[in-house]
Symmetry: C2
């Protein structure tokens, strides 16, 4: 039915829907035809553990189907929360239990849950600038405002953070949520060092803010020791940490979690209106973890993506020497390429004509957008296509930059 | 980590979270130990098609795993939307396509999507009184108000509906959403006849309201011809119809849909923040439908639950004759039992001590709660336990009602 609604839709839409249109543009262009995608933070399908998952589905359906296909409640399947708590306890160095966890539809719904439980319309959220646009979108969807905190090579500007918090406090405004991605930041690839995390945490604690720590990529570290998380440094207090199986198993599960103190978890679960994340998928991933498959798979993934990163960095060195600047990320999926002039959209457009899709950097800014960056994802593109894609992108960039 | 947050959580919570606490009480008691559950609208696990689903998972993972485990976008897997559109087109007698559908985490998330896209804080929603409390909860979670429309034996009071709409209109208030469950209404089991539907639709159209038509149980009709839906009567305009596989395959999938004009679907998808419902589950159910399994399974389910309803009704006639009143529902999972005096909580409490769980009727009212009803679900309880459960419940009710 292709009805033209008689009534104009604008009269029906919630304010948040109208504001969202103002705050964000058309969004990402969909992939068109046969292109080499360096544009999105999506995993390589070659890593998907299809056979093991298929076996886990069969085992769960035939052995636990009566429970797995029934309603499971807002917190999510206790069996998955138990095994996740055990696994995360080891990584965070804190004694955690199922009460610290709610299962969500990926970390995107985990962020949504935090916004829904804690934000009123017009509330101020402080986030990195640049940051992941779909996270900004979630904050805007809740009709909140965003202050974007500029980044240096070690992460957010702490002096600026203090200024903004002080100003809000003077004006009687409570800043409830600070949104950070401290590991392999999206899009810049930056990992905040310990001192920076501690300084941010001190400010959050002084001003009574909750830190929302998005760690979607944190498990994919290719070198150096992990830096303790905000959650771990805070002893689990006042930090909501978001996790996901999207990068380590597959986004098509839509399975993630939120880790926090029980009181915060309860507040988020109390407002949940979708009757929880699929018990079936949760049983399957619990079975997959219980058999040790996940832990081995994660090791394999780290070595696989380390190989992709290393090849990608060597190709950048070969083709972009003298044209652009970048730093090697210690993990995650992204390299943040700095161009010598404002040409992000132009390069992205021309590259697409050559069959290479990249994300122009301006899309990641909530304010004061800079046009000198490209975000390049090395995760999805096939090993065999990497050289062609980087070479084509470099050719386009050299041509446009020398012409400008 | 069992941290006592230093800061009281009340200072952090969104208004909606605080108001939700006021609007609804403690909610349903969890099942305790070995009880006969007549309390919840959950399907009988004996109907779960475990073997076929397991085969579908294997086929999808091994043949389409690269797509099924990848991100799928806010509208959901086109393959499932195509096959659903075809199937629903036949039932609704309207030419529908994938553009009329968004896949959701059950019909609960479908309702949430409608609220999120169209409601501002303090907006008025009109719903049946009584109705499904978790739907009320979703409306309250969006900080909206509810007017509960009393029901006669054919559904909502149309005169009252007109009065409320007229009053709102005089006061310059736009009522955007009317929430109805016209088939085998939850909790009363009522099916609105055609004239009632038409009268409601006329009012909705005159006042520019969207009807949210919750049809979670509509496919499970055990007798008589289906009455055309609001969606069908309206030619697909101004109606958002909610559907789900929760009652026909299994709630543990968390898979449902929202059916509406493309403009309304787009408005809801634009505000979606969870990156869509699991493509993996959607591929699997599409495969299950493409093979004709679903259609056959639905027929089997109808005959299975018809048998349960018939046995349940004959047991009520045997044990509750002269004690309570009820009407036979034409479909769905519920019988609404009317007691001769205000004893719903007392009977529910005492019955639980005897190992029978039922839902006291007051929980289904948004206002003017009546205490003379019990909602009985015949869907979940095993055939073999039905007689014992009904006999025990009747014994408890007779004892309390003769004592009062």
């Amino acid at each position: 039915v292709d009805t033209e609604e008689e009534q104009p839709i604008e009269g029906l839409l919630a304010r948040r829907a109208l504001r969202l249109r103002e705050n964000l543009g058309a969004g990402f262009a969909p992939p068109q035809g046969q292109v080499f995608r360096l544009s999105a933070g999506v995993p390589d399908p070659a890593t998907f553990p299809l056979e093991e998952l298929s076996k886990a589905f069969r085992a769960v359906l035939l052995q636990e189907g009566d429970q797995a296909l029934q309603y499971g409640g807002p917190y999510g399947y206790p069996g998955l929360r138990d095994i996740l708590a055990k696994w995360i306890s080891e990584r965070e160095g804190l004694p955690l239990s199922a009460e610290n966890l709610m299962i969500t539809n990926g970390s995107s719904q985990a962020l949504d849950s935090a916004c829904f439980a804690f934000l009123n319309p017009d509330d101020l959220v402080i986030a990195e600038n640049p940051t992941f646009p779909l996270s900004l979108r979630t904050v805007y969807a809740h009709d909140a405002r965003v202050f974007g905190l500029s980044l240096d090579e070690d992460g957010p500007d702490v002096g600026k953070l203090e200024m903004v918090l002080k100003k809000a406090d003077r004006e009687g405004e409570r800043v409830k949520l600070l949104y950070f991605t401290p590991n392999f930041q999206n899009p810049t690839g930056i990992t905040f060092p310990l001192e920076r995390r501690q300084a941010i945490l001190d400010l959050a604690s002084r001003y009574g803010c909750i830190i929302v720590e998005d760690d979607a990529y944190g498990e994919l570290r290719y070198e150096a020791e992990a830096v303790p998380s905000f959650f771990s440094l805070a002893g689990g207090r006042g930090v909501i940490k978001l996790g996901t199986f999207s990068k380590t198993i597959g986004p098509g599960l839509r399975l993630g979690w939120v880790l926090a103190a029980p009181k915060l978890i309860q507040a988020m679960a109390a407002l949940r209106t979708d009757m929880g994340t699929s018990p079936l998928l949760s049983h399957v991933v619990a079975a997959y973890m219980a058999d040790g498959h996940f832990q081995q798979h994660l090791k394999d993934n780290i070595s696989f993506y380390r190989g992709k990163r290393d090849l990608f960095l060597s190709l950048l060195a070969e083709h972009f020497e003298g044209v652009a600047n970048w730093r090697a990320p210690e993990g995650g999926f992204f390299v943040w390429l700095e161009l010598p002039s404002e040409a992000d959209e132009l390069v992205a457009e021309e590259a697409l004509k050559e069959g290479v899709m990249v994300s122009p950097g301006f899309r990641f800014f909530s304010q004061d957008a800079k046009h000198i960056y490209l975000r390049l994802a090395f995760s999805f593109i096939h090993f065999d296509h990497m050289e062609t894609a980087v070479a084509r992108l470099a050719r386009v960039a050299r041509k446009l930059l020398s012409a400008s």
